[in-house]
């Protein structure tokens, strides 16, 4: 097998942070190559160097044995490298069809042929078995769809190398399988595919080879056969990590634990139909469902981000009318939103400011948290969640994707809420950190906090939930006790009774 | 009225396009015109151009479209009227210019012009300065506060002033800067002049009274006596100028009379009736000095 892309000795420094130091990679034609590493290990940076978004401080990149130094993504594209970056990097205001074709429109008499743009778009999406209204602006679709569109765009280029940076973070099982099918097909055609993910089973499902990065340096290149899960985790983290213990104390909630939040007949047109829900103090309610089943909508209604058309909301037994998220925050609710980039982080503010933002909002603008208290809080959570950052004054935008997610989580933990709503909080978070976050959630619940935990991962639902509530097609499909068997949950989610 | 859009009965429908309301002088001018062209004899269509020529042209077009009997307007600038005046002529609507003349290729495009002569005003100011300085030795140092750069009154007043003052080589214009016809700018620029020239200024010539009033404050704040240490002449003859003269702070103002409403009304009557009118009607104006100020002040309507 020949080397298509060969990178060696890559070094990149951002200010005081050394993101990469002697990283490398060797991609062969006709393989799917997984790039693994903890949050902040330098995976995305490596990809940015390969594709001309950033210039390396040192090191070489060879394509087909010829050194290349792309100075822009456009140049990398011309060299035959097609990329999906970690955050969706498309234009939200343009239509789906246009996002798929921007920069390479089919033309007629020198003018863009929109008919062919649309047809081409449908064809590209069809490869992923997606059927969208291609004329709608991209922003009107949820992140998961946007991610699929970004992947479809990358597939549209006839490239030698396809790079996918955490393409599956927002997708659920069905979408992931579609993607893998396409990836396998492309592998047959001789394309080299680089693939980043934090889901270990996905790595073993598709990849032919694994490269591991740690702290910006190359740990090694392996085949899945020679590297069992535990060894892979050890290579990434640098020490042994105990994986996936179940929760021992399921259903340990006292039946008379007070109900913190109760929703009765909550409805919103086009979003949710008459959903009832109770969350008790000290209880973790796991909320499951397919993409678009209404989980995020429910969370938004509970938090006052959207207004319900019908139904009532009771907080500790009293009726509440939440007109603004601020109302919810003042009453001790917290929502860690699904869309990190648009609704979560404020990229230009520092880690400290991002962490104290919600707590400060609850206190009001007049009563500022003393600076020493802010520093203390920020340091505490940076350490607790293992946020990798040069310091608490670093702008959050300079953190790696997973670390940004941890900061958003920290913001809400810092408010010490009565009810914590987590909408897919572990998205893009590495395996070790995930363990810690889930441990923290359980610990907080034991201290009496009520938690609503939304997740796309079956394993997380069954492991964490004292109760598992499932939504299907925007209605409540049913409830199962904690510790239920995975298969039963799955059946409820998919609707095969 | 001949036009379909015209008013009731046999009143004369007049479309009048005013430059704007940029100064007290202009407000007085508007008031005078509105009072003179009142119903029942006249049916006035008034339009304010907010100091923009294109707005005036739009207004004239709309007058033509409405079919008024006579059009009168105070042009923002001299040039650029050929096309629209041609349209008026084609529609058979006579045009009376007020306040300033226009340059057109075909003199028959307007019937008559009533108003002041900015160049002449500049000359008068200069003549007053020369008279005032009789017997004094040179060099006599003059500072000039110009109007808005490029505006017709500023250009013409400067030209007239230079033309006359240039004939006497005792005078030097040491500083000249725009004060945008406003009190605030007049004060600010004068402050800078005083700082730059020290006490070395003999005469101030301001293109309008407002700038002079602003400059007077600057002079006082610098510890000098306006009207005495620095002789001051300005143009327009608004009420504020007379007050300043009465207080001995302004030496002279060259009148530029805005109250031409009655004369304009008469011209419009004549033009509408098809009578012969002179091509140029001059408004009565003079130069006022401090000794006349007290007597004249109560007569000032603006």
């Amino acid at each position: 097998m020949s080397h298509v892309l060969h990178a060696q000795g890559l070094r990149k420094r951002f200010g005081a942070t050394v993101a990469l130091d002697g990283a490398g990679l060797c991609l062969r034609a006709g393989e799917i190559h997984a790039l693994m590493g903890q949050n902040g290990a330098g995976k995305s940076t490596l990809i940015k160097l390969l594709t001309g978004v950033e210039r390396p401080d040192a090191g070489t990149v060879e394509l087909d044995g010829r050194p290349i130094a792309p100075s822009s993504p456009l140049e990398a594209q011309r060299e035959g490298i097609s990329t999906v970056y970690q955050e969706v990097n498309l234009c939200p205001n343009l239509s789906v069809a246009e996002n798929l074709h921007a920069g390479r429109y089919p033309r007629r008499f020198g003018l863009i042929d929109w008919r062919r743009v649309r047809a081409g778009a449908r064809e590209l999406l069809g490869r992923l078995h997606l059927d969208l209204d291609v004329d709608r602006p991209l922003a009107s679709y949820p992140v998961a769809i946007q991610q699929m569109v970004a992947i479809a765009r990358a597939l549209g280029v006839s490239a030698k190398v396809l790079i996918l940076d955490e393409p599956t973070s927002s997708l659920d099982e069905g979408e992931v399988q579609e993607l893998f099918a396409v990836m396998r097909r492309l592998r047959e055609q001789g394309m080299a595919i680089l693939f980043v993910t934090h889901f270990l089973d996905q790595v073993y499902a598709v990849s032919d080879r694994i490269t591991v990065l740690r702290n910006g340096t190359l740990v090694g290149e392996y085949t899945p056969g020679e590297l069992p899960q535990a060894a892979l985790v050890k290579a990434m983290v640098g020490r042994d990590v105990a994986l996936a213990e179940g929760r021992a104390d399921h259903a340990g909630i006292a039946a008379d634990a007070p109900v913190v939040l109760e929703a009765r007949g909550l409805s919103r047109r086009g979003a949710l139909h008459t959903v009832d829900l109770q969350v008790r103090a000290g209880e973790v309610v796991a909320l499951g469902g397919l993409l678009g089943s209404g989980r995020t909508e429910l969370a938004r209604l509970l938090f006052g981000l959207d207004r319900a058309d019908e139904g009532t909301l009771l907080l500790e037994g009293a009726r509440v009318d939440l007109r603004h998220p601020a109302d919810a925050v003042e009453r001790g609710l917290a929502l860690c939103p699904e869309e990190r980039k648009t609704e979560g982080i404020v990229a230009e503010l520092s880690v400290r400011e991002n962490i104290v933002l919600a707590l400060q909002a609850r206190r009001g603008w007049w009563r500022a948290l003393p600076r020493s208290r802010q520093d203390e809080l920020a340091r505490h959570y940076v350490e607790l969640l293992g946020v990798r950052t040069a310091g608490i004054e670093t702008p959050v935008g300079a953190l790696s994707g997973g670390n940004q997610q941890k900061v958003v989580l920290a913001r809400w933990l810092a408010t010490r809420p009565k009810l914590l709503i987590l909408d897919e909080p572990t998205r893009g978070i590495d395996i070790a950190a995930k363990q810690e976050i889930m441990g923290e959630v359980v610990r907080l619940a034991r201290e009496g906090m009520a938690v609503l935990f939304i997740s796309a991962e079956l394993e997380e639902l069954t492991r964490l939930g004292d109760r598992i509530v499932v939504l299907r097609e925007r209605r409540k499909a049913g409830e199962l006790p904690g510790g239920s068997e995975g298969a039963r949950v799955l059946d409820l989610i998919a609707g095969h009774a | 009225g001949g036009g379909e859009g015209g008013g009731a009965g046999d009143s004369i429908t007049v479309g009048f396009s005013q430059v704007g309301a940029e100064s007290e002088w202009r407000t007085a001018n508007t008031r005078s015109v509105k009072e003179a062209l009142a119903p029942p004899e006249f049916n006035l269509r008034f339009s304010d151009a907010q100091q923009k020529q294109e707005n005036q042209i739009k207004a004239l077009r709309s007058f033509i479209a409405q079919g008024v009997d006579v059009i009168a307007f105070s042009p923002v600038v001299e040039t650029g009227w050929d096309t629209v005046l041609q349209e008026a002529k084609a529609a058979g609507i006579p045009v009376v210019l007020t306040d300033r003349a226009v340059k057109v290729s075909d003199e028959s495009l307007y019937a008559t012009f009533i108003g002041s002569d900015f160049v002449e005003e500049g000359r008068r100011a200069a003549r007053w300065v020369i008279e005032d300085s009789e017997g004094k030795p040179g060099p006599i140092r003059i500072v000039e506060l110009q109007g808005t750069v490029g505006s017709a009154p500023a250009n013409d007043r400067m030209r007239g002033f230079k033309e006359v003052i240039g004939e006497d080589d005792r005078f030097v214009i040491v500083r000249s800067q725009s004060g945008d016809f406003t009190r605030a700018k007049g004060k600010e620029v004068m402050e800078a002049f005083l700082k730059a020239e020290g006490g070395n200024i003999d005469v101030l010539f301001a293109h309008n009274d407002d700038m002079a009033i602003g400059a007077i404050q600057a002079i006082e704040e610098a510890g000098l006596r306006p009207g005495t240490d620095i002789r001051i002449v300005s143009i327009d003859g608004v009420r504020g100028a007379f007050e300043a003269m009465k207080a001995g702070k302004l030496n002279a103002t060259v009148e530029c009379n805005p109250l031409l409403g009655p004369q304009l009304a008469q011209l419009i009557r004549d033009v509408h009736a098809g009578r012969e009118v002179p091509r140029r009607v001059v408004v009565e104006e003079g130069v006022f000095t401090q000794d006349q100020a007290e007597a004249e002040l109560p007569n000032r309507k603006y």
């Binding site: 420094r13 200010g15 005081a16 942070t17 050394v18 993101a19 990469l20 130091d21 902040g40 330098g42 702290n215 910006g216 981000l305 998220p325 601020a326 919810a328 925050v329 003042e330 648009t342 609704e343 979560g344 982080i345 404020v346 990229a347 230009e348 503010l349 933002l357 919600a358 400060q360 909002a361 009001g364 603008w365 007049w366 500022a368 990798r388 | 704007g20 309301a21 940029e22 100064s23 007290e24 407000t27 508007t30 490029g150 000249s176 800067q177 725009s178 945008d180 016809f181 406003t182 009190r183 605030a184 004060k187 600010e188 402050e191 002049f193 700082k195 730059a196 407002d210 704040e221 510890g223």
Partner: protein
């Protein structure tokens, strides 16, 4: 992050920290302007104590800049929260006219003492704040784009002011009022105290409360700020009110300075100067990043430019060209990309020569 460079963690040397400070380049631009003036005109930088007052061009510049400084501070916060207020000039004119009208009414009615003064100040500031509230409601409640929402008041506001004044310049014959714009306190012009006081209060407010952080959060990512529980819309509304209030204060100073209110010309094109001041001071016009002190320096730069033009005595036709070139020079001085390019150019011949 893998490792952190040890030498990069050591505190930067003083000159490096100075260069990195966001106020450094605006201040340098101001200093260069003043120095240039000093070279052309040796008396320019002189300060002199006369009759218990401080005299000199520097005092004049600061004094003249006071209204712009005030307006720029309000504008800074509005822009930081992703807004824009182009009605400030008109609001200034309204406030000035209301003040002059109130004084005219009260003194004609036999009002004496300081009552007319305080009535005028109160009426003008209240009206100005109301104008700001109007803008804020259009932007926040109705959801109009800020430039259009404030354009309405920009156009109509002068009309309202002229309606009050009857199209005349209202002259104020009431000496106590003149103190605001022309009075001296401890040897310095009174407007400096007004601008200074507002600056200090605002700086303290932004520093000691969470307001600054909230405004930056709103400016950078309004959606995220909302989800975090920041009452973004309410805050934005109040920022417009504050901007109106600042314009009102400026209106008091301007009308007091010339003892008259000119509804048509007061504050003409002030919105452009204010936005320019804000931008020169390092605030991002797209929202988020802002610097209050920077805007003050920006306003001083603009006034220094104007004074420079008067001082060097160029003919008025050339005013605009000089101003344009100086503005571009100041902008380029502040652009890191431009400085990098200049450094690269400077290095190349040096290397070739060696």
């Amino acid at each position: 992050m893998a490792t952190t460079d040890p030498d990069a963690q050591a505190p930067l040397p003083l000159h490096r920290r100075m260069l990195a400070h966001p106020l450094f380049w605006p201040l340098l631009a101001l200093a260069l302007l003043l120095l240039g003036n000093g070279l052309l005109n040796p008396g320019f930088l002189a300060l002199e104590w006369r009759d218990g007052r401080l005299y000199g061009n520097l005092v004049d510049i600061a004094n003249r800049a006071a209204p712009l400084v005030l307006v720029s501070m309000g504008m800074t916060l509005v822009i930081a929260a992703r807004g824009l207020d182009i009605s400030v000039g008109a609001v200034l004119a309204i406030a000035a006219t209301v003040a002059a009208w109130t004084i005219g009414r009260m003194t004609a009615g036999g009002g004496t003492g300081l009552a007319p003064l305080f009535a005028a100040i109160g009426a003008a500031l209240a009206t100005a704040a109301l104008c700001g509230l109007w803008n804020g409601v259009l932007v926040v409640k109705v959801g109009m784009q800020p430039i259009i929402a404030t354009l309405i008041l920009m156009v109509a506001g002068r009309g309202v002011a002229q309606l009050i004044s009857g199209g005349n310049i209202l002259t104020i014959y009431y000496p106590p009022y003149s103190f605001l714009g022309t009075g001296f306190l401890f040897g310095l012009p009174f407007p400096l105290y007004v601008a200074g006081a507002l600056f200090v209060v605002l700086a303290l407010l932004l520093d000691r409360t969470a307001l600054g952080m909230f405004i930056r959060a709103i400016g950078h990512n309004p959606a995220a700020a909302r989800v975090a529980g920041v009452r973004a819309r309410a805050i934005t509304l109040w920022l417009y009110v504050f901007s109106g209030f600042c314009a009102g204060l400026a209106g008091l100073l301007v009308s007091s300075n010339v003892a008259s209110a000119d509804a048509n010309n007061a504050g003409q094109l002030l919105e452009l100067d204010a936005i320019l001041a804000v931008a020169l001071g390092g605030t991002a016009l797209a929202g988020g990043r802002f610097s209050l002190a920077g805007s003050v320096v920006g306003a001083l730069i603009i006034q220094a430019l104007t004074t420079t033009i008067y001082a060097i005595g160029v003919p008025p036709q050339v005013n605009y060209v000089v101003k344009a070139l100086l503005v571009v020079a100041v902008l380029l001085l502040q652009s890191p990309e431009f400085r990098a390019r200049v450094r690269a150019l400077a290095r190349r011949p040096a290397r070739g020569g060696a």
